[in-house]
Symmetry: C2
Subunit: 229 residues, 2 copies
DNA sequence: AATTAAATTTAGACAAATCTAAAAAATAAA
DNA sequence: TTTATTTTTTAGATTTGTCTAAATTTAATT
């Protein structure tokens, strides 16, 4: 086994893995990730994030310069993808084999994703017949960390509890853009649909994993998101 | 849900759970468990064990007085049994569903046994069709922590890699008892058969999980063990 | 450009689980 | 029953991950 291979097999603490995962997700949506974002995502304090950034840097899992921002290294991305792979495979297992509802598996998968055995997860993948997406529609990375599938839909068709990344705008009129700008929605913004009102088909969205905003059906039809990571 | 029920659902650290499990196992074999035994079992230091004993006592998981010994409380036993249940169900899953060999599942199960969801393990039990024993022949406690199966056999018929607890002696002559006493074998002693020599059917035993001793076929035929925990 | 506000980092502390080295208690041996 | 040995416990440190409060840097406003 090569040295690089052995490296990727190293075991990190659950806490470190959670940071890597969170940064990976935030990076995908925002491009730029901030200390506050991470603190918010992980329900922790900015000071704790700074502490951890230093540790992750020391292990070459991310690139970091104080006050200047940070991003995952090649290695950090690889580790994050393996955690995501495990999380989603376990979710699939819970729903397909143990009859759990898709809305009750996340918490359990948060624990299972930290089980370290590589062989276990590859065997599980095989047992489940190599599923491409988890029960929420999120794609499952293969054993090399690659996604096989990317879906693009408008906001109305974004599955519940799925987070999409804005990939295109239909109506690009200044009025539309002004509205989107005001609501802090732009290319790459992460959006989750929280509710669709039967009355007028207006949508309640969670934007950047933080603010809750409401948009009309018309707006929703003109915002396209891709969900894949 | 009753108060007592909620109590048993509480989550303990993996470390605490490991201590409870180790003490449970040692208690079953020796009756009396010592600080050194635990340190030995968990590959740790006696001082660390003492520290943990105090914490476990504070949480009413064991009865403990300094220098005077300790044993699991009712609650501690209950928690230990749930860990053992989880460990063995996961081992069964790994062998029966994921095609692992019985000799490679222990390590993985050591991690999986700390996943906390009660619902998960009960669903897994159902999925596996309520197996009675794990791949090593050890019985799996049911959701109430009860074993459904107790087998009593003489040492010659104790399955390999199974640990039995001495439950009776056939030939109780003074000579026999003297021999057993010398080899530190008595009621309740935990024994595992390591090897049976084809030549004279003599047995090599691991006694109290520590010493290796040899006994004749005649002796083995007169020592009965139950294996169930 | 100067000032204010926000984000980030440092400094110092704490809880959990461990360790080493030394002290205290219990047990075994002379 | 003293003495010696072993076991157990205490005292004090260390590591990991977290926190609060204060300081520093960057960004935003006037």
């Amino acid at each position: 086994m090569s040295e690089a291979k052995r490296e990727s097999m190293q075991k990190y603490s659950s806490s470190k893995e959670n940071y890597l995962k969170a940064i990976f997700h935030l990076q995908k949506s925002d491009g730029v990730v901030t200390t506050n974002d991470v603190a918010n995502e992980l329900q922790t304090r900015p000071a704790s994030v700074t502490d951890m950034l230093k540790k992750l840097k020391a292990q070459k899992l991310l690139i970091y310069e104080r006050y200047k921002g940070f991003k995952l290294s090649q290695e950090g991305r690889k580790v994050a993808l393996q955690i995501i792979r495990k999380h989603r495979l376990w979710e699939y297992f819970l729903v397909e084999k143990l009859q759990f509802g898709w809305d009750e598996v996340h918490e359990i998968a948060e624990e299972l994703e930290h089980i370290s055995s590589r062989k276990l997860i590859d065997r599980l993948d095989e047992f489940l017949d190599y599923p491409k997406t988890d029960p929420h529609g999120d794609p499952i990375p293969d054993s090399q960390g690659r996604f096989t599938l990317i879906k693009q839909v408008d906001l109305l068709h974004l599955p519940p509890n799925k987070t999409g990344e804005v990939s295109g705008i239909g109506d690009q009129s200044p009025e539309m853009l002004e509205l989107l700008k005001h609501k802090q929605i732009g290319l790459g913004t992460r959006i989750e649909v929280k509710k669709i009102f039967a009355f007028d088909h207006s949508l309640e969205l969670k934007v950047r994993n933080q603010s809750i905003v409401t948009v009309s059906e018309h707006v929703a039809k003109n915002v396209f998101v891709k969900y894949d990571e």
